[in-house]
Symmetry: C2
Subunit: 213 residues, 2 copies
Amino acid sequence: MNREFKREEHVYTSDAFDEIIKDTIRFFNGTPVIKLPPPVKFHGTGVYAIYFIGKGNLYADLALKNRIEFSMPIYVGKAVPRGWRQARNETHSSNKTFELNGRLNEHTRSIEQADNLIIEDFYCRFMILEDAASSLISTVEAALIRHYKPIWNSQIDGFGNHDPGKGRYNQAKSEWDVLHPGRPWAEKCSGIAPDINRVEEKAAVYFTKQKSK
Amino acid sequence: MNREFKREEHVYTSDAFDEIIKDTIRFFNGTPVIKLPPPVKFHGTGVYAIYFIGKGNLYADLALKNRIEFSMPIYVGKAVPRGWRQARNETHSSNKTFELNGRLNEHTRSIEQADNLIIEDFYCRFMILEDAASSLISTVEAALIRHYKPIWNSQIDGFGNHDPGKGRYNQAKSEWDVLHPGRPWAEKCSGIAPDINRVEEKAAVYFTKQKSK
């Protein structure tokens, strides 16, 4: 047990893996884009992207990028199997669950509740990853976020947040909720909220960076 | 935009991916096992497993399984790049960070602070996943947890918890902290803690299930 410690003995590398991630992203970018919310209830877990094509001031650059194709998501997220982190869902294949569908519906509600967003400006694309492939979910989500750096993932925090629940409303409103007020539970958050001017400034910085690429 | 919704257009499958996960796990299981804490400071992110070889009553079955090889971890975890979820770590390769090393040191502290555990009974194994391979971290961690179902992941919650911090000590002590009292911040948690008999019962159920396999 007292052999010498050699860092390199612990380092894993795989070229084949890079290829697979590219393959999933290519598949993802080939899935049909649909309006939010999904038109029918469907089961499964996976990864999704939300696109904005509105003419709003703040996201004008984004709408421009998406003018002729859905090329820049405003948000990327995942829906993992229930109990997945704890390895508790041994019976997952027998009961159909609706995580991805549910997540897209939650996001629809957030957008509808925001005073200054309308659901008609939002579209989504999603990829179902089930059974063995469900362990790809986090990897693909991370790769998509790293690749696109969507503004609601990388710059404006809070879109994907949930109601913190009773006894926890002492926390601060998120940047997203400052920018898009309206979610009833967010309005209950009594902590010191980020300054709206600073949040708008952050959004502007994001688009400046994007342009310089 | 009003084409028919077809679920199957959204489902991704990949056999090559299953092979890669098996390859990473095989590599992981071939990495050297070392005592906790790591003997030298090393940089990087990745996945780790902690093994228990003590003679304690509660985990006697585990020690038995690990008598001639490290075959059943008590806990599996990951250390991801800082800012990884938000895609903010653009400069990650230039600054060396020590997430994995830090996580193993935190766990060492938790074990040392527990009244009824001793660090000499604990070993670990870890795999560094960096650069592109860092997006494999969550997938490999999940696969290892699903495969081994370590008791501190799947049955007894709370080992990996952090100090909730000022203003949040109204939450309950975790199952792990009930079973292994001693972490100073856990002792401050004033919520209704799980009953120790019930937690011990849960541990017993875990080992019964393991045996029946």
